[in-house]
Amino acid sequence: MGVDFTLNGKPRSFAGDPRTSLLHALRDDFRLTGAKDVCGEGFCGACIIYVDGEPKTSCLLPVGALQGTEITTIEGIGNVDTLNPVQQAFIDFDVVQCGMCFPGMVMTLTHYLKDNPRPSRAEVKAALTGNICRCTGYERIIDAVMSLHNSASGEVRT
């Protein structure tokens, strides 16, 4: 008997050791490799996914704790042809480098901007406390985020 949950909108079941981290289940068993295994200890955020809409670090979540939940990974954000506004802003500002941290960045910021559509720079930085990037030095990521509520019409684009 396995653990049943919804993964990116589809019912799925996991029959392995329920203490396996969701991150490893996603990457090894479901072959969804968008969430990255970087630190394995909750500091870097590269493995962030949503459980019932809330961003969590999948490296510290055993699958056994997820019975009946709805899980969304970066692969479940839009589809091949559509980007969400955060992803689009990152393209527009040319901020991606090696890219390993970006799935987690997108997950964190997409959720954060939903509740906080007009954050200050400092607030965005605080929201990124658990998302480490080794390549970019962050500031241009923040520039891209700030552009989302500085559109010409003053409208929030999330």
Binding site: G40, G42, L61
Partner: protein
């Protein structure tokens, strides 16, 4: 799945599921890192998630009751208990947002080897009591007493809730970090202050974490400040003069001397914050 990951429906069932080959599972942020600490990770997880009362926060005139599974994120959102600011701040600033959604107050208290917990000093400063349940039934004791016996408490005991009595004072939490955020504090301080009618300190509770391996109250400093008028308090100097109360630990993050060095500053920060709250509420 039953074998390795159990969901007992009640605290009693959870207690009877515990034993040497089982480990309590709350938020997972400590347990899931056992392999990184080279600890045994073949234990059965006993999840408390399906025990509804452990998720509850209730506030009434007698006090605030917090279930052991309440997350940092949920604690940080409590806005209607003004004297509890230290706890709200500690919960809202610790670790990072994703971890705060997972890590629980019970886990924070029970992780024996976690010197740098943020909630523990806050709860000490708020005079919290904890309720535990074992084969012998339920019992409650002060958090201070709990911590003193923490390393020897039976593995078949479950900490079920925290009780914070209501008070009229104000509290604040300060963290000493090497970066701006996102790490365990090298020292942290929570302060609860209650004024008397004459603008002097009627009661103070001061707790310090991460300096020693277990957080503790700073009774000598509490005694030194009580009865002192707020206005003329040179708290940083007082704290400085009483740092011999601690046997600080050396760590990879910071040497023992550094923890003590920044302690007076942290105390002063927490005092200033709590005093500011008192002024605004007056």
């Amino acid at each position: 799945m039953e074998q390795r990951f159990k969901y007992p429906p009640s605290v009693e069932d959870a207690v009877s599921a515990l034993g040497d080959s089982a480990v309590l599972f709350a938020g997972g942020t400590w347990v899931m890192r056992a392999p990184l600490r080279d600890e045994d990770c073949e234990k059965t997880f006993i999840s408390l998630a399906k025990i509804p009362e452990l998720h509850l926060v209730s506030v009434n005139d007698a006090g605030v009751k917090i279930g052991a599974l309440v997350t940092h994120h949920a604690l940080a959102a409590i806005s209607d208990v003004p004297e509890m600011t230290a706890l709200v701040q500690a919960a809202g600033r610790s670790a990072n947002p994703a971890i705060r959604r997972m890590a629980t107050v019970g886990g924070n208290i029970c992780a024996k080897d976690f010197a740098a917990a943020d909630l523990v000093p806050a709860l000490l400063a708020l005079g919290a009591e904890v309720e535990v349940q074992s084969f012998e039934g339920a019992a409650s004791l002060t958090l201070e007493d709990y911590l003193q016996t923490r390393s020897t408490r039976p593995s078949t005991e479950i900490l079920t809730s925290i009780h914070i009595p209501r008070h009229s004072g104000r509290s604040a939490h300060a963290r000493g970090l090497l970066r701006q955020a996102g790490e365990y504090p090298v020292a942290n301080v929570s302060v609860y202050l209650e004024p008397d009618q004459n603008g002097a300190i009627n009661a103070a509770r001061i707790a310090v974490g991460s300096v020693e391996s277990t957080p503790k109250r700073w009774h000598a400093l509490e005694a030194a400040v009580s009865g002192q008028p707020f206005g003329r308090l040179s708290i940083s100097d007082l704290a400085q003069s009483l740092t011999q109360e601690f046997t600080p630990r050396d760590g990879v993050d910071a040497p023992a001397t550094y923890r003590l060095r920044i302690l007076p500053r942290l105390v002063a920060q927490a005092f200033a914050d709590a005093m500011g709250q008192l002024e605004r509420s007056a």
